[in-house]
Symmetry: C2
């Protein structure tokens, strides 16, 4: 939050563009044939394939400006696309961002946003190459990531086979605990609140899983059970999570105890940490960073293919369909 300084309406569209250009000055330009400021960007695409992911974040639903800084939100907007590309067995090379902005927003919020977006993009060596700025009542962010394949073939949701191991890398439940803390009016423990503000997706682990021969992979953004449900349905398999294999991180356990809550709810249904879940043949040694959390099994009856397909400790968890953004 910036208490003073110029508003967007003070500097106008072209003044804002100039300040964004300054915030993005000196970016990595390898592979960028045409960058910011033309009708479209032109970037290199090695290997004859390109990976594309897009996401939208709406103020008041996905973030609050009084809970997170512009830089946090920029980093988060980048992170969720970078990891979407990474779990395909790919690496993001370029980002474009369309922003809806209120005219009475501080210019500094926008430049902070781009600083955070840029910093997170650099985690994967990606460059911000284009965008669009429009006026809207609330901040709306749409980031699209463009990437290049690093795996031979895309690692899709439909590749899991019965008998394989399910493993997870990255944090589970941290961001959900952090959001719960913020929702109750607290600002600490800082580690959990920061996990909500600025997730740390396990990019390197996703790349290692791809190299090790993961047969399917997904970014945990709806919650572990819901996202493994996507793999179960796409692969027509059952997924059996063994909750005794999941270690609840100490800060998450402590916060749950303080709130008299079940930490496994955060761990199993919390998205926004952008952990990575993948399936591996048993012949593969799990890459460092991954922990086995269950197994892939045959579906007993094809009639059940529409069911969530995920059990936890042998039971179908309640609410396992994940959060519905339109009815929830």
């Amino acid at each position: 939050m910036t208490g003073s300084g110029e508003l967007i309406s003070d500097v106008g569209e072209f003044g804002l563009i100039a300040r964004i250009d300054a915030a993005l000055d000196g970016q990595e330009a390898r592979g960028v044939h045409v960058g910011l400021g033309d009708d479209a960007a032109v970037v290199g695409a090695s290997g004859g394939r390109v990976v594309v992911s897009t996401d939208m974040l709406v103020e008041g639903r996905h973030f609050r400006r009084d809970w997170s800084t512009g830089a946090d939100i920029g980093a988060r907007a980048a992170a969720q696309n970078l990891i979407d590309v990474a779990v395909m067995g790919a690496r993001t090379t370029s980002l474009v961002v369309a922003l809806g902005l209120p005219a009475d927003l501080h210019v500094e919020w926008v430049t902070d946003f781009f600083a955070g977006l840029r910093a997170e993009a650099q985690e994967q060596g990606a460059t911000i190459v284009g965008g669009d700025l429009v006026r809207s009542d609330r901040v709306v962010i749409s980031v699209t990531a463009i990437g290049e394949m690093t795996a031979e073939s895309p690692i899709v949701r439909s590749g899991a086979e019965p008998g394989e191991v399910i493993a997870v890398a990255g944090r589970l439940g941290w961001a959900a605990a952090g959001l719960s803390i913020l929702s109750r009016g607290f600002r600490t423990p800082r580690a959990l609140v920061d996990a909500h503000r600025r997730p740390e997706p396990p990019y390197a682990d996703a790349a290692a899983a791809s190299a090790a021969g993961a047969t399917s992979m997904i970014d945990v953004s709806d919650g572990l059970v819901a996202d493994l449900g996507h793999i179960a349905r796409a692969s027509q398999v059952a997924i059996e999570i063994d909750p005794t294999l999941i270690e609840v991180a100490e800060p998450v356990a402590t916060a749950a105890a303080a709130f008299n809550a079940d930490p496994m709810v955060w761990v199993l249904t919390g998205g926004e940490d952008h952990a990575v879940a993948a399936t591996f043949p048993t012949s593969v040694e799990l890459p460092e960073g991954f922990t086995a959390v269950g197994v892939v099994a045959e579906v007993a009856d094809v009639e059940l293919l529409d069911a969530p397909g995920v059990t936890v400790g042998g039971r179908v968890p309640r609410g396992s369909g994940g959060h519905d953004h339109f009815t929830g």
Copy 2:
């Protein structure tokens, strides 16, 4: 406008996705390695380069649901990205779309939107390969187009040289006239109102200009004077429009007379027809569809490089900087 039928909140997120999948069933899939429904799409990228453009449209600012159908708005959202890619000397192969939607919106509006998006995408042989659906108070649309180069080199804004000819293809002033008509509560003349609802960018003319050797090219979305100003600044040249070369289309002239307005204001400052302006060496025969509207000249004094750089009939037009989305 659909007066009855299911709302998004009735069918939920996954019900909505199923209906969108149905609306997109049977799309062209050539070059699509991974399409809808995974963490990211994977599409072919021939020639080792990829062209990327993104735009955002906000309900109440860029469109009104009582003035345009969902299909119109979908077609427009596609069109403005398709032409952005075309003016680079490229062709869109794939689109991704992020949508913010109110829960009380009719499902049919969304499926109409995708039908319009798909129909317009087909004009360039492009496929809708991915997206994101989130909840928001108003409809917000962000489309990103991915394309492949058809020209040897990208046709950028900075390529214009003194002595060249400026030429335009496509409509000028039609959409602005149509918007003016709608704003005054009328629904006819239909040709102008439809031009606002569903622009017809000259994709083939942009491709022809590219093949003929256009040295710079731009999509007229801010208005002819403002967009030629972008070329003037990027190329460090002056652009002299000869208004006697610009023929005002009969429906535009008639509407202007009825409103006691100057049709040249619509022609010179109206965006949203997505006409194409390009510069050509005098040695090049203008491709069919293009009309010369002026010439490129030397800038008299480098001190003036920040000036708009565009004159009309020898004068700097008022308001030539174009519409500022944040102060206007």
